[in-house]
Symmetry: C2
Subunit: 371 residues, 2 copies
Amino acid sequence: MAVTMHDVAQRAGVSIKTVSNVVNGYPYIRAETRQRVESAIDDLGYRVNMSARNLRTRRTGLITLAVPELSLPYFAELADAVISAADDAGWTVLIEQTSASRERETEVLSGRRRHLTDGLIFSPLALGPDDLGLFTVEYPLVILGERVFGAPADHVTMNNVAAAKAATLHLASLGRRRIALIGAHAGEQVGSAALRTTGYLEGLAEAGLPHDPALIGEAGLWHRSTGAEAMSRMLDDGVEVDAVFALNDALALGALHALHAHRIDVPREVALIGFDDVDDAKYSVPALSSVDPGRDQIARTAVDLMVERIGAAGDDQAPFRRVVPDSRIIGRESTGDVAPGERERVVAVQEGGTEVVASAWPPARDRQNVT
Amino acid sequence: MAVTMHDVAQRAGVSIKTVSNVVNGYPYIRAETRQRVESAIDDLGYRVNMSARNLRTRRTGLITLAVPELSLPYFAELADAVISAADDAGWTVLIEQTSASRERETEVLSGRRRHLTDGLIFSPLALGPDDLGLFTVEYPLVILGERVFGAPADHVTMNNVAAAKAATLHLASLGRRRIALIGAHAGEQVGSAALRTTGYLEGLAEAGLPHDPALIGEAGLWHRSTGAEAMSRMLDDGVEVDAVFALNDALALGALHALHAHRIDVPREVALIGFDDVDDAKYSVPALSSVDPGRDQIARTAVDLMVERIGAAGDDQAPFRRVVPDSRIIGRESTGDVAPGERERVVAVQEGGTEVVASAWPPARDRQNVT
DNA sequence: TTGTATGCGTTATCAT
DNA sequence: ATGATAACGCATACAA
């Protein structure tokens, strides 16, 4: 059977409490006692039983990260960043894949597995503003992305509108007049698609370019395949295009594929920019310009907020915050921004910031009633 | 405070044991009793305390998957597949990133975090045959990849030699005579690089092509950047090349980038094939031919073996198995294998299999001593 | 500075 | 079919 603190205590000739103290780095222990305990631990190969410790402390040291799927490079890189940031802070991450389905996303918020971890960092894709109630939970929750605003939780999001506007303006600054958008979600009022489309339209307006609906390419799922299809459709329809803003890099790489299939030169005939700045972007042919939404900063901030919330559990809840990292437009070959031999160039920066979104939960007015 | 079984029992007017029975689906309960308990659970919003259950049952329902990093598409897709397979079997996966460092890989095998999960699925990259001792552990372990053979653990690996040989032969069958290899590890005797290089050499021999060392491109890390560099070096050196076998897809995509930068047409002037068949391969320009090593089957098999081992903990250990899934050569544009409009074509299949590698641990001879 | 005793919320062993 | 009760291994209040 596994060796317990008891065994260690016995072997070291001390009480179980002393072993516990040593294991947990309690400072007031005689050097010699500590010594004895430590060698007993080594001799016996003792390891703390996490389940017992978790039961006792009511903490697991785990946090859940829920994303649609790891096969999508953006989420894989986000997960990498979150795991690394959590690791630095001494926390362990458990990843849950939702496939962007309502059912799985709902399950993540309140399902069985929920109770294994101390908190949830959640990037929803199916749930939206109508489901705000589901996000009113009593455990530490950090929301990622642009599906849900105003939930009683910390929120880390992107500079979507400003960055999309900057990307569009950048294409216009290159002299492009027929700037297509790939990845639109018709009629949708919330989410990344709507926000980035808004930025695109603002950019067009500011550049004095007309808005032509024929230049809007729909793509429900943001995969390479759907990007390729949307781009092909537009080209097959004979729409005149000299630039493309794809709402994420997967779409952009798909679009690039379609442009190539149509023997259209990028960037000479059509300039192309994506969004997310995934690792792929650097190595596509030609290298893809993109919007860097500050992925590492998002991950680090999300973990920081989560750890802070967990630490403050039970206290009066601090106000919820909404954090937006800086974003940057990265110019590469697909927009002809780089000189031969140059890898990339930052052509614009959009500043983010932190905002206090809501007061503590339960709302202040309720607490005043109590007073 | 959180509601416990006790609260539920009180409310339902039954004993705590009965609540436990209901929660765990024990069959012999009167329908009415079950009913009462279930509504008490709903009313109170009761959830099982996993830490308590884990302590009691000595099981966590978690398994660790240790990979170098999720930013590498192959491992992201592997993680996706493992998580999904585990999910289907009712298990939860905790991912650990090792950065392919010896220190982190050692830590994974015996570190603090080890004790949170019931078993480890481990894809080592830094540790090798010299570290076999580290892999002799007393918890359920499934090894992935080709760094370590002969450890007392189940092992799921790829058809490296056969698949690499088939890929090389395929390039030769297209009439290519100067087939370069990108991603070699000079002097290394073990690991994917060595095995795939062996397959490449066997392929050359079988095709009657000479082996020219100038056609071997080194790349320590298999990233897009190193692939691009190795390819560039070779081209800058003026080596004559009409085909490239890259030891993984990241290298291949990097090489593709370099070929493009050198204004070399793929596949007309140089045919290119990768290894892993990551999702990217389908959407590069041109679409990348690749070796599909059977990723989903690897993931499913690894989880099956793991669950089986965990279930048999305490029993006499069954013999360790080595499982090799079928692999396939997928022809796409980069080898000119597809007709216009066609996406891909399976041009060869290498059969895998299952092999019993070692007898139970402790070794049979030890047990005979006991008898 | 260290020891004793209690309980965290479950499951498992007996009973009945 | 259900109940009483003893672990599971650790952390911690309280003593000493």
